[in-house]
Amino acid sequence: MKASRAGTTPSYSNMPRLPNGKVPIAAFTALLISAFAVLAQQSAQRTVKILILGDSLTEGLGVEKEDAFPAKLDGMLRKWRDGVQVVNGGSSGSTSASGLRRLKWYEKAKPDLVLLALGSNDGLRGVKVEETRKNVEAALLFCQSKHWQVVLAGLKVPPNYGAEYAGAFEKIYPELAAKYKVPIVKFLLEGVAGEPGMNQADGIHPNERGHERIAENLFRFFQPLLSGATGKPAPG
């Protein structure tokens, strides 16, 4: 399925490509901005609903619901501008296999944008990379079929899984993002994974500080995408 089928984004079929098959960064960024300009226009009339579909990292296992990064991001975005709502679609223990079914459940919530943060449990359980790719791809295509904007969140497995597996796993997200021309948060746990003081004792789940950092990263990511939308700027 092409991105253009969503009807709200321009076609990428005539996009000039570099010899290695990658879309030039400037052109891609321009396209992203134009795509989100459409989203911003929509949001001028109503609240933009951002669904973050993920696992225990998103759910906020081990921290208060209000301290999990979706709630923090929600607070930051609302402070910045009106008309944004972030829905926490995290489910502890879930793998990418549940992504599609869970998205169907969220159909009722009518999200405008979905941040797909699926797969970290797949990695930790050593699920075949191809299987994870297939599941994330299915979730992505479902979102596009529903005209929901998609942002992929890149995930990694710890280096102790070996370079081969870890390398193959972390390539899933940029490859899918490139294939379907969707924006990507390079690594959801940037500045958090493996950082002392950012994680709980299990070494996997971020603590309050870790969630704060993720929310800040995402806020910086979403800010330009949503900046075209009307809404009251936050005081100060």
Binding site: G62, S91, R101, E130, N160, E164
Partner: protein, 906 residues
């Protein structure tokens, strides 16, 4: 040499002293065997717990220890301790040498490996080997097959020399090629793997595999391994490599999740618990965890604690029961000796000498009983394990510690003397006039008797304290027994008083019975209390046993699962069930699991301060499982499920279970696990609102359940009535029962091929060890409870028989007066069967109260009286009473009437 007087006086009371010795010896033997077994089991559990932890003490962190932490460990752990170091982490084990592509691997096989061609062409990948390029098709097919299974998630344990400190490996090929399974021969570049991994990867001993950048040769296949503790995240097969090889793997990098474990075996004199506390205080970072072996296997510890407490109470009860029985006979004997004492007094014997004679008798008999009891205990301890091994293939430790025998001897003599003291003290007060006129009142006053009773209670309390080391348990045991004895005496006395007042309205036979009881009221009261006490103990034991078994045994008809499958998606369920069925097995109890958050209770946003803030404030580390659960619960996340009915591992303890599905638009019902509800302060009738992944779902708590967690079934804290959550995103979990290793491997491989997201945990090691121990404990509880019950019935019989013998004079007198045998039988039936039934019922009702208190206070579990036990106990008491009465009537009827003269003379 002339026989001492105390023995000569016993010569004509053969029946009495045989009863005394046999009852006492039997009870003592049970006490000794149970105590010995409990000690052995305690030791076995101690060893097993150490095996589970792999040490006396373990310090671990998910990162390298800091220099300060290293210094604390060195300072606090005694230098004489043995130690070993292990690093544990998950990684992908790959067939073939490191840095080399798999033989025969081409583009066709790459995708099945789950690795994209781009990945393969990465900088780390070496060119395809020479073998691969020129493979024949058949070889390529084989290679493809191999490649499919070429990379697996494994749990790596990098071990230092000296590992394991406790327990050990058993290997399949330990006698091959100079390798005898000695860990000191395990060298760099070698890896130890389990059988299922070899099968899954289609590898053999001697093949080369790689972890990160290092190649390893499979040294051997291990059949059993040290340890048993299971961490949810440790989901691959365990493989062992030398710790020294870690740098070469290149897997320990920034961001790697590698746990560092330090194991210590401490010198005997060091208390691991105290050392744990010191280390905990010094290593304050929550990322560092200190455990001792007593923490490991908490389910097992809880079950064992309950069983030990039960067995100790049981053995003490059996002993007390026999002591009461024996005391009954001795007191009975002393009452019968009053005339002899009067004769001796008349002949000028000093009171001290008279008392001395009977104390000597008591000492002699209790020593004889102790020796017989010890011999019997020895026989039990040898015979029982043999019998059990033969019948059920269960091995129980058989040796009885020598200390047990000394304890037995001292205990038997002291208890007997103490119980006989009231009788001895009274002997000195028997006047010579007793020769012509029986004593109307007991020779000892009420106050000295109460004082003696309290002294006996104190003695048993001290005994219970020494045994259980719990003041609460001791107070409850002794209080329940002493209270029961007193209450029985009081109730028996009151019942007799009422019946005596009503005697004019009774028939001839009953009046004779009442007269007979009144004639020997001291003996009758003693007999009533003894009978009631026997019934009390015999009823209490099965009631407590029921509860213990509920806690530790697998529900009837249920087999312990071996494979746990989770993350089964709804659309995969049918296919998975079909696959498992095609392998001759069934996916048992597929249970839906829905993730949700508790938002509101009765419309008020749910906030639970203690769940959110660690006790004591700050970043205090969660030490207990409870605290860890609380931390996990900080985001109020729940795994919900729904079911039509309760599983057999659940018992409804409050409210009612729902009928059918929730009606459209109606508020669905919720059932909560009782401890969980208590922790969250949620009560029956509360309205809970859950955020089920963005959608609010309400439910009303209509029942509380007790869950038998040791049943190893999929159980949930919160269950919804069907009809509310079916549409919610969910996954399923299920189990597969214990199956042979080959079949388990086959199913694991097929499931992971067909449903890669489904995770299968093979818990054979963990569950196997726990189940084995619980199985032994279950058997022990059953057998010893039955044994105690049999002793109770034997004592019941002997006490009634003694009473009957006492009344032979009445039987003969009635016969001399022309009473027909049939009426005699009815008379005795009314007397003894009624006596037994009354005492039995009183004992039963008292046991209900005791069971309720013990369950509530000691084990903190709900308790429901069992009608079956009531029927069995009341029936058994009545049966013994009827049997004894009939036997008495038969025996009395058969005796010649001239016996009346000889009895009168005596």
């Amino acid at each position: 040499m002339p026989m001492p007087l105390f023995l000569r006086l016993l010569k004509h009371k053969r029946g009495a002293w045989i009863s005394f010795v046999s009852i006492y010896a039997l009870g003592l033997s049970v006490f000794l065997v149970v105590n010995g077994l409990a000690k052995n089991f305690q030791e076995e559990i101690r060893v097993k717990s150490k095996e589970l932890l792999e040490a006396d003490l373990r310090v671990h962190a998910r990162r390298p220890f800091t220099a300060a932490e290293e210094a604390h460990i060195s300072r606090l752990v005694p230098a004489a301790s043995k130690s070993a170091e292990v690093w544990g982490f998950l990684s992908m084990l790959r067939m073939g040498p490191a840095g080399q592509a798999l033989p025969g691997r081409g583009p066709d096989t790459a995708s099945s490996l789950g690795v994209t061609p781009e990945t393969e062409a990465g900088p780390g990948a070496a060119p395809t080997g020479a073998i691969g390029a020129a493979r024949a098709p058949a070889v390529r097919a084989q290679a493809a097959d191999k490649a499919m299974a070429a990379s697996r998630l494994v749990q790596v344990k990098a071990i230092s020399p000296g590992y394991p400190l406790v327990g050990g490996f058993t290997f399949a090929g330990a006698s091959r090629g100079g390798w005898f399974g000695r860990m000191e021969d395990f060298r760099s570049g070698e890896i130890l793997v389990p059988r299922e991994l070899l099968a899954a990867m289609k590898a053999r001993v001697g093949d080369t595999v790689s972890l990160g950048a290092k190649s390893f040769v499979i040294k051997d296949e291990y059949k059993t391994r040290p340890g048993g503790n299971f961490d949810f995240w440790e989901m691959g097969s365990r493989v062992y490599i030398p710790l020294a090889d870690m740098p070469a793997t290149g897997l320990d990098r920034k961001g790697s999740r590698i746990f560092r474990y330090r194991y210590f075996m401490l010198p005997e004199a060091i208390d691991p618990g105290t050392l744990r506390d010191s280390l905990d205080a010094a290593l304050s970072d929550p990322e560092v965890d200190v455990s001792v072996y007593t923490d490991s296997g908490s389910d097992l510890s809880r079950s064992f604690h309950m069983v030990t407490a039960f067995l100790k109470m049981l053995s003490l009860s059996a002993f007390l029961l026999s002591a009461v029985g024996a005391a009954f006979f001795f007191r009975h004997h002393l009452v019968g000796e009053r005339k002899t004492v009067a004769v001796l007094t008349t002949l000028g014997a000093a009171r001290r000498r008279i008392v001395g004679i009977y104390v000597a008798q008591n000492l002699f008999l209790s020593t004889l009983a102790a020796v017989s009891g010890m011999a019997l205990a020895r026989l039990w301890s040898i015979g029982l394990p043999l019998l059990l091994h033969k019948l059920y293939n269960i091995d129980i430790p058989s040796n009885l510690p020598l200390s047990t025998f000394f304890i037995g001897l001292g205990l038997a003599v002291c208890t007997s003397l103490l119980f006989g003291f009231t009788g001895f003290a009274g002997l000195g007060r028997i006047p010579p006039a007793t020769l012509i006129k029986p004593l109307e009142t007991a020779p000892l006053g009420v106050l000295p008797r109460i004082a003696l009773f309290l002294a006996q209670g104190a003695f048993f309390y001290a005994l219970a304290m020494a045994d259980s080391r719990s003041w609460l348990l001791s107070a409850l045991s002794v209080g329940a027994m002493g209270g029961a004895f007193l209450l029985l005496g009081a109730l028996g006395w009151s019942a007799f008083k009422v019946l005596w007042m009503l005697r004019s309205r009774m028939g001839y036979a009953l009046r004779i019975v009442l007269g007979s009881i009144r004639w020997g009221r001291e003996k009758s009261l003693l007999a009533f209390a003894a009978l009631g006490f026997v019934a009390f103990t015999s009823c209490l034991v099965p009631q407590l046993q029921d509860l213990i078994l509920n806690e530790i045994s697998v529900p009837k008809g249920r087999v312990i699962p071996q494979l746990f499958l989770f993350d089964i998606q709804e659309e995969q369920l049918q296919g998975l069930q079909a696959l498992i069925k095609s392998r001759g097995q069934t996916l048992a109890q597929p249970s839906p699991m829905v993730r949700a958050r508790l938002e509101k209770v009765n419309g008020v946003p749910f906030k639970r301060e203690e769940a959110g803030k660690p006790a004591g404030g700050g970043n205090r580390k969660a030490v207990t499982l409870e605290e860890r659960n609380r931390q996990q619960f900080r985001n109020r996340g729940f795994n919900l499920s729904y079911r039509d009915s309760m599983s057999d591992a659940e018992t409804l303890i409050a409210g009612k279970w729902w009928k059918g599905r929730a009606a459209e638009g109606a508020v669905p019902e919720i059932s909560m696990e009782k401890d969980f509800a208590k922790r969250l302060k949620i009560r029956l009738g509360d309205l809970l609102a859950f955020d089920v992944q963005g959608v609010e779902v309400e439910g009303k708590v209509t029942s509380l359940r007790q869950v038998r967690w040791a049943s190893f079934q999929p159980n949930f804290f919160v269950l919804f009535q069907p009809g509310a959550l079916e549409e919610a995103p969910k996954s399923f979990l299920g189990t597969i029962k214990q199956i042979p290793p080959d079949q388990a491997e086959d199913i694991q491989n097929r499931v992971s091929e067909a449903f890669p997201n489904v995770t299968i945990l093979n818990l054979k090691d963990v569950i196997g060890k726990t189940v084995e121990t619980l199985g032994k404990l279950t058997w022990l509880v059953r057998f010893l409870s039955g044994f105690a019950l049999l002793i109770g019935l034997a004592i019941l019989w002997l006490v009634v028989d003694a009473l009957v013998s006492e009344n032979q004079r009445t039987i003969l007198l009635l016969r001399a007066l022309g009473e027909p045998r049939s009426r005699l039988a009815r008379l005795f039936l009314a007397h003894y069967a009624g006596f037994c039934l009354m005492a039995g019922l009183t004992g039963y009702f008292l046991s209900l109260a005791a069971a309720w208190i013990i369950n509530l206070v000691v084990w903190q579990v709900p308790w429901i009286p069992d009608l079956g036990i009531f029927l069995v106990c009341a029936g058994a008491s009545l049966f013994v009473g009827v049997l004894c009465s009939l036997y008495a009537a038969y025996r009395g009827a058969g005796q010649p009437l001239r016996g009346l003269l000889s009895l009168t003379r005596a």
